[in-house]
């Protein structure tokens, strides 16, 4: 039986059409797009086409608003550091506690350099408090950075509204839309979003290519200075293979947008219903009524996520977990912690993230596979008795540790 890939929020398979589109750029189309001769010219033209495809998917007003980068992380860093350089007298940043490390670790580092970083809290479903946000907006804030969709729970944030609030307060607004682009429709020209990050490998393009969308007229200071590539806003000879691939992937994402939000969403819902019907003491994390169509995050209480993943993997099923062990850190996912999920559940969270390549048969196989795995691990758990969790689990088993 073929393996089942349900880890598309980590990365995606490169679409075969994308592979076909990039192949010539490994061989005959090797020119430097900046060159004047025929070799370079054709490649330059391909980049232009790719830029338009990204523009279409994002609903950007101008093609020149698309800046190709090397990844989502680079786009995030470029956006935030640019805002700080463009507004040097503003020393505050607003973000959220549930951002990806690409934002959080950068902000923590900036905090150690003297910037004030406000991290908006979330409630038990991962939702922000917009009143708290409104109170923090001021002319001391250089940039707001809020993710469009959370990578772990799939929860969507009201970034369009928040961008309007920022603009009204005369503050730049950036969104890390790495998980949202290609999964939900967007039309940036109708929004007040000033900057947006995306990453190719999350939407069936190759790894190592990303985009920073920069609304025309927004003050900008490049991270990499050098040649005139990307109109001087991101120097360095272009990753033509990645960019051409991303262009094709954006075209395909637009074509499949409806499919993603109907069929893929229905598969995800079936997976959720199937697992919850068969497994007691399990619940969905995040905001199920307002999340990405492909993402399902379930907390299995009293067991640990890495162990679940290893047993799933043994059956050829790929997913991921918010447990501390899967990342080698000491704490469970900061996203689960921020939502106040107890440790006995946070370590047992498993994220299933689907794509348009998943089939109904695969989903049924996963629904079959999960309950026995959970039961097997619970049998080993000190929190689990003969027929369910022991009474007062936290008191009955309270291990000694510093």
């Amino acid at each position: 039986m073929a393996d089942i890939y349900l880890d598309n929020n980590a990365t995606t398979m490169v679409d075969p059409d994308v592979v076909a589109a990039v192949m010539p750029f490994f061989s005959e189309q090797f020119g430097n797009p900046s060159s004047l001769h025929n070799f370079g010219n054709k490649v330059g033209f391909a980049l232009k086409q790719a830029r338009q495809s990204v523009q279409n998917l994002l609903g950007a007003e101008h093609e020149s608003e698309i800046i190709f980068t090397s990844c989502g992380t680079e786009s995030d860093s470029t956006a935030i550091l640019s805002a700080l350089k463009a507004y040097p007298e503003r020393k505050e940043i607003i973000t959220t506690v549930v951002e990806h490390p690409a934002i959080l670790n950068l902000c923590d580092n900036l905090a150690s350099e003297g910037y004030t970083v406000h991290k908006l809290k979330v409630d038990s479903k991962g939702r922000l408090d917009l009143d708290e946000y409104a109170r923090l907006l001021s002319d001391k804030v250089a940039v707001v950075s809020v993710m469009w969709a959370n990578n772990e729970s799939g929860t969507l944030f009201p970034v369009e509204k928040m961008a309007e609030m920022a603009e009204a307060a005369d503050v730049l607004f950036h969104t890390d839309a790495v998980q949202a682009v290609g999964k939900i429709p967007m039309n940036l020209q109708d929004t007040s979003i000033h900057m947006l990050s995306l990453s190719g490998h999350k939407l069936h393009a190759p790894k190592g290519v990303g985009v920073l969308y920069l609304k025309r007229g927004v003050r900008f200071r490049p991270l990499l200075r050098g040649g005139h590539q990307e109109r001087g806003r991101r120097a360095g000879t272009e990753n033509t293979i990645g960019i051409v691939g991303l262009g094709k992937a954006c075209e395909l994402a637009l074509q499949h947008m409806e499919y993603e939000n109907t069929t893929v969403a229905a598969l995800r819902d079936r997976l959720q219903a199937g697992i919850l019907a068969a497994v007691p003491h399990a619940f969905v994390t995040g905001d199920p009524s307002n999340r990405l169509p492909n993402t399902l995050n379930i907390a299995f209480e009293y067991i640990e996520g890495e162990a679940i993943l290893l047993l799933l993997n043994k059956q050829g099923i790929a997913a991921s977990s918010g447990s501390a062990c899967t990342s080698g850190s000491l704490e469970p996912s900061h996203v689960m912690k921020a939502m106040g999920i107890p440790y006995t559940a946070a370590h047992g969270t498993v994220r299933f993230s689907l794509s348009r390549y998943n089939t109904a048969e695969e989903i049924e196989r996963v629904i079959e596979a999960v309950p026995p795995i959970v039961a097997q691990l619970r049998k080993l758990s000190p929190y689990w008795g003969a027929n369910g969790p022991i009474e007062n689990p936290e008191q009955a088993f309270a291990p000694v540790y510093a």
Binding site: S112, Y302, I303, E304, G305, E306, A307, L310, L311, N313, K314, S323, A324, C325, T326, G328, S329, L330, E331, P332, Y343, T344, H347, K379, L380, S381, P382, Y383, E394, F397, A398, P399, V400, Y401, A402
Partner: protein
């Protein structure tokens, strides 16, 4: 995914002695639910002989935590309590064919569960002396708490100190930023300021694999007054003489051929020549010469000397 040994996988997929032992008379609960690993070890001990008749585990944790628990129960069965107490966490890891550095704490948890269970049997209070922090140095599996405590206890003030006392940072060096941060905080706490070492400063005995280009010259000690060519050659000979015993111990030797400005041409002979250690040996010789002469010099194998010497 982790690089688990076959034994770890085997003990995870087919754990031995899972569940609580019936009629247990020793129980050890250890671990930390916030870290995601916790273990209850139950033992049945024969009171007269103190032999462990049966052992069982219940574990909330990852693959290696379950495997370590399973291994532990296998290892202690049939042993007396005193014998069992000699088991170290490294023994558990070895039993499993090794654990990734990030997972060594699972074996520590196993050993502690054993200590806790035995203390429980003997009616003693078991005090946990182990505090775990975030892993900083992945090469040698050294965590933040260990680094912090060592800095505090010994008033350390440089990365080299930390490496010498804990090994942390002595491998790939990617964790040096993290160590600097801890140093800065600890030094600030005792009213000092962390001052980074000189750019390119090399640790004693650590050499570059390739001879650095002159532009990348390390910051060298102040020039020790101008030497005549003869004095200079004599100093070089002395340095080589000093290094010779070490080289000979490895079955090799070094011979001075020529000195041409900053270039010092040598022949490596015996076990040193040609082997992959040659570049390291040359680097070590060069480092020593730079320190002694107080100027930048480049040690070049005679075989690589350009044929047209003029104007090179």
């Amino acid at each position: 995914m982790w690089d688990y040994s076959e034994t770890v996988k085997e003990h995870f997929y087919n754990p031995r002695n899972a569940g609580a032992v019936a009629e247990a008379n020793a129980v050890g609960d250890v671990g930390s639910i916030s870290c995601g690993d916790a273990l209850r070890l139950t033992l049945k001990v024969e009171p007269d002989t103190e032999v462990i008749l049966d052992a069982g585990f219940q574990t909330f944790g990852c693959g290696s935590a379950i495997a370590s628990s399973s291994a532990l129960t296998e290892m202690v069965k049939g042993k007396t309590l005193d014998e069992a107490l000699t088991i170290t966490n490294q023994d558990i890891a070895d039993f499993l064919g090794g654990l990734p550095p990030e997972k060594m704490h699972c074996s520590v948890m196993g050993r502690e569960a054993l200590q806790a269970a035995i203390a429980n049997y003997r009616g003693e209070e078991w005090e946990d002396d182990h505090e775990e922090g975030a892993l900083v140095c992945k090469c040698f599996a050294i965590d933040e708490v260990m680094i912090r405590d060592t800095i505090k206890a010994n008033n350390l003030s440089s990365i080299e100190d930390v490496t010498n006392y804990t090994k942390a940072g002595g491998g790939c060096s990617s964790c040096h930023e993290g160590i600097e941060k801890i140093l800065s905080e600890e030094m600030a706490a005792r009213g000092e300021t962390f001052v980074p070492g000189a750019v390119g400063k090399k640790k004693e005995g650590v050499v570059k694999l390739k001879s650095p280009k002159p532009e990348a010259a390390p910051v060298v000690a102040a020039a020790k007054g101008k030497l005549t060519t003869v004095q200079r050659i004599r100093v070089i000979e002395e340095v080589l003489e000093g290094l010779r015993p070490a080289l000979k111990a490895d079955g090799g030797d070094v011979e001075l051929i020529d000195v041409d400005g900053k270039n010092i041409y040598v022949n490596l002979v015996g076990a040193c020549s040609g082997c992959q250690m040659a570049a390291m040996t040359l680097g070590g010789v060069q480092q020593k010469l730079i320190e002694t002469l107080g100027e930048f010099v480049k040690v070049v194998p005679h075989s690589e000397r350009p044929v047209a010497i003029e104007g090179v």
